[in-house]
Amino acid sequence: MTTSEMRDEGKENIYDTAKCRLLRKYDLSEQDKLFLFRFEDPEIAMNWRYGPGQFVTVSILGLGEVPISICSSARTMGFFELCIRNAGRVTSQIHKLEPGTLVGIRGPYGNGFPMEQFANRDLLLVAAGLGMAPLRSVFLYALDNRWDFGNITIINSAKYGNGLLFKKELEAMKDIATAEDISIVQTVTRDPDFEGLHGRATTHFDKVNVDPKNCAVAMCGPPAMYKGMFEELIARGYDPRYIFVTLERRMKCGVGKCGHCNIGTATSWQYACKDGPVFDYYDITSIPGLI
């Protein structure tokens, strides 16, 4: 977004990081933790802006840098939250960090979800697994600006009950939700012991409280989920112009230089980090290889 460009202009070296202090960490599941960070430099803290769907890179010196979506509300000044899965070399070390530690942050990067386009529409948010991380930011944005949006449905799915990210937070919202025309659906696919809804996101469309004709859809999950969802949404009359997904790719720079996140074919060559990670229905269905 424009905010990222503003910030980078002020900085000499686009690969340099800003120090952020880890303030708190919580367990979200066995593999996922939520981290709360704040910029050390008050100047940056006051001016740092981002949009839902954007990401930062977290740098652990000596180990490397990894891209992580911001999952907090875009409103908080100087604070931001990251939900990080312990997936390898760098993320496993992040999991070991104690509050008080400093890390390096670059960003925000990526286009993010076009929230201005979503305005005055109902919202359908579909998350699978870790996909809840960026969508939480969208959800919080919608709550922060409740009057800009119509009805909201959020479908949070995971394989197992203990892998449902932000489950408690969403549950705690139940009462407000009814009052605010928000439908919260949490479902698991492979956990017979789970006390709650079972099945994939598509099986719970009866609980959706949005009007397909006037709704914006944001999805984040494994690419395999998108195909089925697209069919389902189109069949139910959702407007394809308002269906958006985020993609994951290997990234080393976040600014369209390192080349790893390249996607598309000869006439539609793009970078997931810069031109994405949010893409719309037409991108996905017309450019081979995106999902």
């Binding site: 010196l61 390898g88 890390v103 390096g104 790719r249 290997r250 390249n262 060559w269």
Partner: protein
Amino acid sequence: MRYVKISKQDTYEFLERLKKIGTLYAPHKVSEKFYDFCEVDDVKDVEFDYQRTIRPPRRFFYPEREVLFTFDTHKVELYENLPSKEKQILFGVHSCDIVALRTMDSKFMDDQPDPYYKVRRDNGIVIGISCVPDEYCFCNVRRVEFVDTGFDLFFHELPDGYLVRVGTVVGHKLIDPYEGEIFKEVCPDDVENMSKFEEKRASMFTTTGNWDTLRYFMEMRLDHPMYMRESEKCLGCGNCTLTCPSCKCYDVQDIPSIDGRTGERIRYWDSCQFRSHGLVAGNHNFRETKLDRFHNRYQCKNSYCKDTTTSFCVGCGRCTYFCPAGIQFKENLMEIAGYKGGTT
């Protein structure tokens, strides 16, 4: 544009003088069949006639491996390691390579400049030289066989010297001190000779025509059997991309040091022909098979570089010439697009 002329003999003198400005690199013959840009020790070793160098000129602005930052984990501080402003002069760059440098610029300088690349590029001088194609060259169908920007000076071969086009202010300043001394006025004969040279050169390309439709055919024939057949032969060695003048992929690594506290953040050239290029956590690979990786390069190289109005591939022929498996990029593209001829 300003045009001057220099004799063959004076060219050596000019090279000597260039050496005083900064580090001079020029093509050298490094073995029976291979050339490479090397630092000029003796100007007599410079090769004016060559087809292609092993390593592309981009490495002078974007080295194979460089330290971006040093760091200190106790202070959680990155210390920028910008290159020195020392002048680097590249003599003898062909037009395809000059365009390739411009595609590099479009990636590394145009928006959100990469400071490392920028420092070197700002302090670099590029001097082009005319060439004649061999059977691997197809810059003509890529429409980059003749450049009008991207160089400070461009040397066009004449029977008795070179006609020099001056491309930039830096170029003017290189000529000015020697105007009348080693750089002379151009006479009509020289222009005649240059046009003869260009005509002869144009007739030497083995591929002709216009390849602007190529990328559309490539998209409409994504499952073309060529990919399977050729990727079977591919060694995944990455030579095609590492020698490519317009490939830009890099990887970044932190190399800690033995004190357990400091270290270096380095970047080095990567290649989409390597397995890890598309690999993410959980061992998921977006380009799982050799075929996927092979396919990726063909798409990437033929995609459009808007800033140079050509594809990223500039037709230098390196990826074929240096492919140990002998995979013919140009022929394979023609097969996909259904271009029959042009082969004289």
